[in-house]
């Protein structure tokens, strides 16, 4: 029996998908911002800190990067409140998890970037009398930032795609919107034929914007 497509039900509930995408983007921006701060702080600590700090950050990175995001999402939302007296909603829980998860990737990005800043530039900063903090702030970080921008952009797009996992906590982002429409209209095929291109288009739109930004900041 040939399948009869019916997209009208999807369009009727399209606000679920539209607002869902908006929330996906909001989750992405928040997690990317927090993850960047965490990742940057750890990267700086890793390249300039002592052996203990270095080992701690290395362990964190190894652990987080080898555990599925889904498991971490469950662990933070269901696991942690079961052992400590902490209350938080699903959205907060997911943002924290995604930030911590991507911080482990971003540490590596920033660390590699900091190590790629030529020793000579640091020397030039020393030679004009900049202090260690000033060298970091005015020389190493700005140069590092320009070096890592391409991989940073790719990481952010991956992060955006991974916001789909928030649907398991019923955070009403795009994938959850798809599931809701599926549960209420049973038009599962149609909904994924709409939602999938929405993810692809948004992901590439983000990448396009970040690439424009890269081009403007390029140093060579």
């Amino acid at each position: 029996m040939p399948y009869h497509f019916n997209f009208s039900l999807i369009w009727r509930h399209f606000d679920r998908l539209g607002w869902g995408l908006a929330l996906s983007l909001e989750l992405s921006v928040l997690a990317a911002a927090i993850g960047t701060v965490l990742g940057l702080a750890m990267a700086i600590a890793h390249v300039s800190g002592g052996r203990g700090l270095r080992a701690a950050i290395g362990t964190y990175v190894e652990c987080i990067r080898n555990i599925p995001l889904l498991l971490l999402v469950y662990l933070v939302f269901y696991g942690i409140p079961s052992v400590v007296n902490l209350q938080y909603n699903a959205m907060t829980s997911f943002i924290v998890t995604l930030s911590v998860y991507y911080a482990a990737y971003l540490v590596e990005v920033f660390r590699a970037g900091l190590l790629a800043v030529s020793r000579g530039l640091t020397d030039a900063g020393k030679a004009i009398g900049l202090t260690a903090w000033q060298r970091l702030l005015y020389v190493r970080l700005p140069v590092m930032f320009r070096i890592v921008l391409p991989s940073l952009s790719n990481t952010f797009v991956s992060l955006f795609k991974d916001t789909s996992v928030a649907s398991v906590l019923a955070v009403p982002e795009l994938t959850y919107g798809a599931q809701w429409i599926n549960n209420n209209t049973f038009r599962v095929i149609e909904v994924y034929m709409i939602v999938t291109p929405m993810y692809v288009a948004t992901g590439y739109a983000i990448l396009f914007l970040l690439r424009q930004f890269e081009r403007r900041l390029a140093i060579r």
Partner: protein, 218 residues
């Protein structure tokens, strides 16, 4: 009953799930390796009528979240006449995801070999497959291995998402045990440790491989 005892008792009920996780991951990694290397090689050497659709497909798949890809194959597949069981659909989705990564990794690795190598190989009279097998691939593999291991790790991690279409893998077994014991934390930690062990042994194995294939860079 302490948390440790609960975990110890529930452990046997996780083995089945672990086996499913390992099987799904292994199959996906294998399919992705074969498919991805073929696609990636074609992306470098193929004629444009072949390159263009492959480029499009690889970029498309890379743009889809793994979770959505799994749902897509699982739900939309049957409408396209693809009547797979849930396990096969999940493995197909994971394979597609991983293959698109492997294709990119392959393309990058091959491109890193100096094109003079291809010319030198042609000059001594090797035909195209011989040039690939004896000259290009052996040099490209050094660039291929490190990102490929990352993609294997991504596949193992991504396999946890197949629990969401009802496949009783390690992730879902853990959820089921928690449903019975109402004690989530020890089992999530246990699960994390098992995934960590799988991926960690994979990456240490890869370091040995890398050491084997390492030679002075030219």
């Amino acid at each position: 009953m302490t948390g440790l005892e609960t975990v110890w008792r529930a452990l046997p009920s996780l083995w089945g799930g672990l086996a499913v996780t390992l099987e799904a991951s292994a199959l996906s990694v294998a399919f992705a390796l074969i498919g991805g290397v073929l696609l990636g090689t074609t992306l470098v050497f193929g004629p444009w009528p072949l390159r263009l659709p492959i480029r499009g497909l690889v970029d498309l798949v890379r743009g889809i979240p793994v979770l959505v890809l799994i749902f897509f194959v699982y739900y939309v597949g049957p409408a396209a006449g693809l009547n797979l069981g849930s396990f096969a659909a999940a493995v197909l989705a994971l394979s597609l995801f991983s293959a698109s990564q492997v294709a990119e990794i392959t393309r990058g690795a091959i491109s890193s070999v100096h094109h003079g190598q291809m010319e030198a190989a042609r000059a001594i009279g090797l035909n195209f497959p011989q040039r690939l097998i004896w000259v290009i691939f052996p040099q490209a593999i050094r660039r291929f291995l490190p990102p490929w291991i990352n993609s294997v790790t991504d596949t193992v991690k991504g396999s946890a998402l197949i629990s969401l279409v009802g496949i009783v893998d390690l992730m879902l077994s853990i959820q089921q045990v928690i449903g019975r014991t109402y004690d989530p934390m020890p089992f999530y930690i246990l699960g994390a440790l098992i995934y960590l062990a799988i991926n960690y042994s994979l990456s240490s194995a890869s370091r040995h491989l890398e050491a084997r294939f390492a030679y002075a860079a030219t």
